[in-house]
């Protein structure tokens, strides 16, 4: 089915009107900015209901197959709906791991039974998913996962722990990478990938309190937790390939996600609004020459991201350091977020010292919280320091330390 421009425009208008009409009112408490920050039951319930509403309106999973609850329509319609969600800054869709990683993975390589069992619940937010990749002692070294999965007849017995489990408390399922053969030839050949139910004996989710004072991440302990072999995704000891396929969905390198946005990062337009509202010497802060200079720097830097992506597609302009733009994107964007949030605090003058919970905190203290949470970007997924090493070694060819 191909759509002409008129049909696309009509659909965009319809979506735009629906979100304008149905965009939730201020809930009266501060919402998280991503699925990694869902720290209270009231936040979770609000976000789950919102996802369900978007799904029921037909703007989520539009391109997923009808037989599993999807819309069976062309991807471009979902892209239009997703862009509109970002544009209107509506709350993100909270079942992020299900919608963007686990769901596409199951559709890509799951059995018919798995698709039927899992996909509808991912879309309507009945079944929340979490991820069990990182372990306490192996930050970014995924291939070194040590959580044990020992075969016992047609079951596996799980022992060990996973860390940074977002939504762990609310999740019904986890995608889990575990060591099923400790004596394999290489560490990568001894891993298996499971779809594990969370509400079974031997699985305990312990919240981790973040630097913000809030919750959102957990450590998940497995003590003789037994799962049937039907929970295997892919073949036994073939888990590394499945994990790599999952990461390709996670990084957006491969399409097939259900749609919707997963994160509400800050941009300079929000800081401009803050600079107009904040005061310096009885005048709007945006009139202060030093503030203006910083704002211009942020505007140029933010524009660099889009222009770098544009240039990366022009071959003659990336001859010398190929891969440089792609490999530095995470470092550039996360450090930018951290500095932008930090600047937003300084704009607030004395009020920068308020924190979430005080009635006088600017925008409920979201900038203070957002500044602290920005470290999840500069630390998670390989710290900025590791990113510098990787770029220095792989792009510039500098010697390893």
């Amino acid at each position: 089915m191909s759509l002409d421009q008129k049909e696309l425009d009509e659909f965009r208008a319809e979506v735009r009107a629906w979100f304008e009409e149905n965009k939730p009112a201020d809930p009266g408490f501060l919402l998280p900015q991503s699925f990694m920050e869902v720290g209270s039951d009231e936040q979770f319930t609000f976000l789950r209901d919102w996802q369900r509403k978007v799904y029921e309106a037909g703007y989520l999973g539009l391109a997923w197959p009808r037989e599993y609850g999807g819309g069976g329509k062309p991807q471009i319609l979902q892209d239009i709906a997703t862009r509109e969600m970002v544009r209107q800054k509506v709350p993100f869709l909270t079942n992020t791991i299900g919608l963007n990683w686990a769901g596409p993975l199951i559709l890509h390589m799951g059995t018919e039974e798995q698709k039927k069992a899992y996909i509808p619940g991912i879309l309507n937010a009945d079944d929340i998913w979490c991820q069990g990749f990182s372990e306490p002692d192996h930050g970014s070294d995924l291939g070194n996962a040590q959580l044990k999965a020992e075969r016992d007849g047609n079951e596996f017995v799980l022992n060990g722990s996973k860390i940074w489990t977002s939504l762990g408390k609310h999740a019904k399922y986890m995608i889990l990478l575990a060591r099923s053969n400790p004596s394999a030839n290489s560490k990568y050949e001894g891993l298996s990938f499971f779809l594990v139910p969370m509400k079974i004996p031997g699985v305990e989710v312990v919240p981790i309190r973040k630097l913000t004072g809030e919750y959102g991440f957990n450590q998940t302990f497995f003590t003789d937790a037994r799962v049937p072999e039907s929970c295997l995704m892919g073949r036994e000891n073939g888990g590394w390939q499945v994990a790599m396929a999952t990461l390709a969905f996670e990084r957006g390198a491969v399409g097939g996600q259900a749609g919707g946005h997963a994160m509400m990062s800050k941009d300079v337009s929000q800081v401009l609004a803050l600079a107009r509202a904040a005061q310096r010497n009885g005048r709007p802060a945006i009139e202060d020459p030093l503030v203006r200079d910083r704002l211009v720097q942020f505007i140029m830097e933010e524009k660099s991201f889009a222009l770098n992506s544009a240039r990366a597609n022009i071959k003659p302009l990336v001859v010398e350091w190929p891969g440089s733009i792609a490999m530095s994107g995470k470092l550039a964007a996360t450090e930018y977020q951290r500095r932008l949030n930090q600047f937003a605090l300084s704009l607030q003058g004395a009020n920068a010292a308020y924190y979430v919970g005080d009635p006088n905190a600017y925008e409920r203290g979201q900038w203070q919280r957002s500044y602290f949470n920005s470290f999840s970007g500069t630390i998670g997924g390989g710290t900025s320091e590791i990113q510098h090493n990787i770029i220095g070694e792989r792009v510039l060819g500098l010697p390893k330390g």
Partner: protein, 375 residues
Amino acid sequence: MANDKRPTIHFSDEQAQLLEVATSFAQDKFPLNKARARVAAKEDFDAAVWKEMASLGWLGVAIPEEFGGSGLSLAEVVTIVEPLGRALAGTPLVSTTLVAQALLKAGTRAQQAEWLPKICEGAVGALALIEPHGDWNLGHLTAKAERPGDLLVLSGTKTFVTDAASADLAIVSVAMDGAPALVLLDRQLLGAAKVEREIVIDETRRSYRVNLDGVTVPSDNLLDPSRTPDTLKNLDEAACLLLAAEMCGGASGVLVTIVEYLKTRKQFDRLIGSYQALKHPTVDALMAIDGARSHLYYAAGIFGDAVENEIAVRMAKALACDALAFASDRAIQFHGGFGFTYDCDAQLFRRRGIWCEAQHGDAAWQRKRLASLIL
């Protein structure tokens, strides 16, 4: 900010071809030891190489075909200037291109018909826009033209006029009847001015102070006064674009110098590039160059667009200034004791960077202008 509008970079086939040709030309004609020879040379520039550049058609890239040029735009000139900047080439390409642009914007038909074909063939152009007060505001003019009858009598001093001793023509800005005016001086009229060599930080350049007192010029040499204010603005923006290209090239060149040294120099039995204290800032330099180059080619691609033009070129120049300043400053430091010597190439790049920052405004100046344009 319009987040749903993704900017695109317009990059033509001509740009791609010129970039490739100019890159190998620069490698061939301007190895870094050439920059050293340039420093020591007496002449304003290497006339033989300049002749080759003319025969490649590079001086007429942005000049219409009716005047002997290729009829392309400054976007194509950028792809020549960038690789030349990388090699620290000292040529009159930027100033000559800007002189041609001034004639295209505000020259009379007669001036265009006389000079544009000559420029395409290799005539050297000099720009005399700066004054001893050093103000980057090109409208701040103390040099004057007075008009008793049919002649213009000039007075005042212009500074940083590159290649003035050998230029075939110069475009000079002066105040006349309370407004800015542009005057064309040919070789002979330039000879009537007092031209003194300046000692400047970028030793690959030959720069002159030009005292205009008593120089008398036919009024035919006046560029169209009604178009002068727009032309000065356009010259400032075109200069920012070409200087940004020169600096992006220089920054890439000095980054290579750093990387080579970090991969070969050992201290405490280790290659110094393995130390994170050196590796990480080198990556920061790479990322600064990436951002500056993306802005540069965006600005090049839209040059001439009425609304975005000034914003784009000033952003490109601001970021290119910072990228070259950071990379060349770190290059000196990372070379250790050798970096402190005249023999180390790092200082050549640092000097080039300071020169280019001083031309048409440094990063902070550009940002101040940008603030009034976008906030």
